[in-house]
C-alpha cells in the first residue's frame, strides 16, 4: 500500500461516538486519503470500536501502530493511553509523555504534528467533547494552510470542544452533522 499524500483527521470526545460511526459508515469503498480518528478513551477499559466497525463494514480499520506507514484508503484509530504523532517520513509514532488538556491521546498533539508534515494537504474535523483539546491543533492546521471543520455546537452533544475552537479561531468552517457526513460520503 502506498503512502497517502493527503490526510484527514477526526477528533472527538464525549458525545462524538455516534457521529464517528456514521462518518465511517458513509465512506466510499476507495479514497486516496488516510483517515485518522482520535477519540478520548480510558486505557483501563478495553474498547474495540475499530474491530466492531471493521467486521461490520468488511474493510480494515486498525490502530495506528508505532513507526508504521500512513497509507491511502486506510482508516486508523489512535491507541488509548498514548499520544499519536506524525513523523516527517509519513509514518506514525507513539509517545507517553505528559497529558495535554488532561488527555492522552491529545487531539492537539496529533493535529499539530500532522499539520506540520502535510500542510495544506491536511484537513481536520473537531467534534463534540467536554474539554478544550483540539483548539490549539485546529489553529495550527489552519496556520499551515490546511482546512479546519468544526461540528456545529447546536448539534454537538457536548458543545465545549467545538465552541472553544470556534471562539479561538477565525474563519473556521462550521458544519452540521449532515454536512459532515456528506463530505465523507463524497470523498474520492
Amino acid at each position: 500500500m502506498s503512502k497517502a499524500d493527503e490526510i484527514i483527521l477526526i477528533g472527538g470526545s464525549a458525545g462524538s461516538y455516534n457521529l464517528i460511526v456514521a462518518i465511517i459508515e458513509s465512506l466510499p469503498s476507495y479514497f486516496i486519503y488516510a483517515i485518522v480518528v482520535i477519540i478520548h478513551r480510558n486505557p483501563k477499559f478495553v474498547t474495540r470500536i475499530e474491530d466492531t466497525l471493521a467486521a461490520r463494514l468488511h474493510r480494515p480499520i486498525i490502530q495506528a501502530g508505532d513507526k508504521t506507514n500512513i497509507s491511502k484508503n486506510m482508516i486508523y484509530f489512535a491507541v488509548p493511553g498514548y499520544h499519536l504523532l506524525v513523523e516527517p517520513d509519513r509514518t506514525f509514532s507513539l509517545d507517553i509523555s505528559e497529558q495535554i488538556q488532561f488527555s492522552r491521546p491529545s487531539i492537539d498533539v496529533l493535529f499539530e504534528t500532522a499539520a506540520e508534515i502535510y500542510g495544506k494537504r491536511c484537513s481536520a474535523f473537531l467534534l463534540s467533547g467536554a474539554n478544550k483539546d483540539g483548539t490549539d491543533g485546529i489553529r495550527i492546521v489552519q496556520k499551515m494552510g490546511g482546512k479546519a471543520f468544526v461540528q456545529s455546537p447546536e448539534e454537538a452533544r457536548m458543545r465545549t470542544m467545538p465552541e472553544s475552537a470556534i471562539r479561538a479561531n477565525q474563519e473556521i468552517n462550521i458544519f452540521t452533522d449532515q454536512e459532515i457526513i456528506s463530505y465523507f460520503r463524497d470523498l474520492k
Binding site: G65, D66, K67, V79, Y82, L85, V86, E87, P88, S93, L94, D95, I96, S97, E98, V109, T113, E116, I117
Partner: protein, 276 residues
C-alpha cells in the same frame, strides 16, 4: 536570555541542534523519533523562555545544561504494576520457566524512577524467586535514577499503584511492601535489597552482562526503526538462550529480521523468548 514572544523550532533547526548536541556532549539523539523529539525540545524552549540561538549557546557553553537538556528530553512517565495484565502474564507464562535456573539476572532498561523494578521485585518475592535474583535498573537519565534509589513515592500515586497491583492477580496487598510516612511511602528494604540502579544509554552503550530476562517498555517508541533494530540486537546479545524479552504493549518484534531468533510468548504484551 528571557524572551517575551514564543519561539518555534523547525525540523531543520532540530537537525542542527541534534548535530551540535552530538558533537559537544556525546549524547546521540540522531536515532530519536523526530516529531516526538521536536516536541520535547520545544517544551524546553517554552520552559526556559529561550529561542533556538539561546539553546545552541547554552548547549555549547554551559556544561551542566547538556545533562539538563538530555534529562528534559527523555520521557519519565511510569507506574508500579502498569498494565496489570502484563504482570499476570509474567506470573503465568514467564517466571515458572525461570524457576529452573539457580541464579537469575533481570535487566529493566529505561527504568525511569524505578517503579517497574520494584514491581518486578515484588512479583519475584511472591513467586519465591527473589533470593536468587538480581535486578539491574538502567536509564540514560541520572536524575530519575536518584529517585529510583531513594524508593520514596507520593502517597497519592501509591493509591493508583495499589489498584494496579490488585488487578494484576496478586493475592497480597501492596501495603505489605512499603512503609507510609506523612504524604509519602518508602519501599521496604527487603524489596530493595537485590537491585542495582546505574546509568546506561541504549543508543550508544554496549552489553554489560548476560540476562535471563530483559524488559524495556515504552522506551523504543522514542527511537526510529534503525535505532530500534540496533537496540533489539543489543538485547538479543544480552540474553541467555531461552531468555525472555518484554516490550511495551505497542512495541512489537513482529516484522523485524531478528524475530526469527525469537518465539512469541504473549502477543498482547509483546513477550518474546530467544530460541536460537
Amino acid at each position: 536570555m528571557a524572551k517575551l514572544s514564543v519561539s518555534h523550532i523547525s525540523f531543520l533547526e532540530l537537525q542542527e541542534i541534534v548535530d551540535l548536541f552530538g558533537k559537544v556532549s556525546g549524547y546521540d539523539l540522531s536515532g530519536y523519533s523526530k516529531s516526538s523529539l521536536k516536541r520535547r525540545i520545544q517544551r524546553v524552549l517554552d520552559l526556559e523562555r529561550m529561542d533556538v540561538v539561546d539553546l545552541k549557546n547554552a548547549i555549547t557553553n554551559i556544561e551542566s545544561f547538556q545533562t539538563y537538556l538530555m534529562n528534559e528530553v527523555t520521557v519519565n512517565v511510569t507506574e508500579m504494576f502498569r498494565d496489570p495484565q502484563y504482570y499476570a502474564a509474567l506470573r503465568n507464562d514467564v517466571l515458572p520457566y525461570l524457576e529452573t535456573y539457580p541464579q537469575l539476572k533481570f535487566w529493566s532498561a529505561g527504568c525511569s524512577t524505578g517503579e517497574e523494578v520494584y514491581s518486578l521485585a515484588i512479583l519475584l518475592m511472591e513467586m519465591g524467586l527473589y533470593d536468587r535474583s538480581f535486578i539491574y535498573g538502567t536509564d540514560i537519565n541520572g536524575s530519575v535514577l536518584e529517585t529510583a534509589r531513594k524508593a520514596i513515592y507520593p502517597l497519592k500515586k501509591i493509591k493508583s499503584y495499589s489498584e494496579n497491583y490488585n488487578a494484576s492477580g496478586s493475592h497480597g496487598s501492596l501495603s505489605d511492601y512499603y512503609t507510609a510516612m506523612y504524604e509519602a511511602a518508602i519501599v521496604n528494604a527487603e524489596v530493595r535489597k537485590n537491585i542495582l540502579f546505574s546509568q546506561h544509554n541504549l543508543a550508544t552503550d554496549y552489553i554489560f552482562n548476560e540476562f535471563q530476562f530483559i524488559s524495556c517498555r515504552n522506551v523504543l517508541i522514542y527511537f526510529d526503526m534503525e535505532l530500534q533494530n540496533k537496540v533489539f540486537n543489543l538485547f538479543y546479545n544480552s540474553l541467555v538462550e531461552f531468555g525472555f524479552l518484554c516490550l511495551g504493549s505497542k512495541e512489537t518484534l513482529l516484522n523485524r529480521d531478528i524475530m526469527s531468533n525469537f518465539k512469541v510468548i504473549n502477543k498482547e504484551f509483546n513477550i518474546y523468548q530467544k530460541i536460537k
